[in-house]
Amino acid sequence: MPDVRLMLFSILREKVGRGCVELRLPDGATAGDAVDVLFHEHQHAAPLRSHVRIAVNCEYADGTCQLRDGDEVALITPVSGG
């Protein structure tokens, strides 16, 4: 049962109302599963789902990435630095 931390930024942080969400996931859960849980609980943010890239422990990762206890999963909406 990995405990993971979701990190939210910019418009997604505003829509959810927090920059950080703690989740306990079933064994074998993937980064994509964690993202699904968030959007299931915050359906008004759902239009952002298809725009989000996932990062696990500060590196871009695939949704199939299997999570371990203590992982930090960031939901990266389209970036606009510069």
Binding site: M7, F9, S10, I11, R13, E14, K15, P47, L48, H51, A55, C58, E59, Y60, A74, I76, T77, P78, V79, S80, G81, G82
Partner: protein, 149 residues
């Protein structure tokens, strides 16, 4: 302020105004014959919309790692002798720099190409977000595809 620095590479995310002269000084080295610099600043008008200020948010730990990855990718393609990427976060008033990218290489063509690669890649890859605040009281997270609020 958070930074990753070495004698050749300086990566910085900070709320403080960017000191362009200090960043330039870092880039000077006898190994280079050309330095190219890109500075992004807060523009007042985009079409007919007037901007009051920009506000940047950053996932700093990952941003510094992504910047490092981009500098390494540039160094594989061009003979980069010195490089700096500095991004300001928080409020950036009109006309002030939000980003400073500088590359020093032996010859100018390499410096131009590497600098362009770095700013173009930063805009696609580095987790930094820009909120644009307009004079009519509205605002938006640029490129997010949804209204803020």
């Amino acid at each position: 302020m958070q930074a990753l620095t070495s004698p050749e590479v300086r990566l910085l995310v900070s709320k403080e105004p960017i000191d362009a002269a200090a960043e330039c000084a870092f880039l000077y080295t006898p190994e280079a014959g050309g330095i190219d610099i890109f500075i992004g600043t807060t523009r007042r008008f985009t079409g007919e919309r007037e901007t009051v200020e920009l506000v940047y948010e950053c996932y700093t730990e990952m941003a510094l790692r992504e910047m490092r990855r981009l500098v390494d990718a540039a160094a594989e393609q061009w003979p980069v002798k010195r490089c700096c990427i500095v991004h300001r976060v928080g409020v950036v008033p009109l006309a002030e720099p939000s980003v400073f990218i500088g590359v020093a290489t032996p010859h100018r063509a390499e410096a131009f190409e590497a600098c362009r690669f770095l700013i173009d890649s930063l805009k696609r890859e580095v987790p930094i977000w820009k909120y644009e605040r307009y004079t009519d009281g509205s605002g938006e997270w640029v490129g997010s595809g949804m209204q803020a609020g």
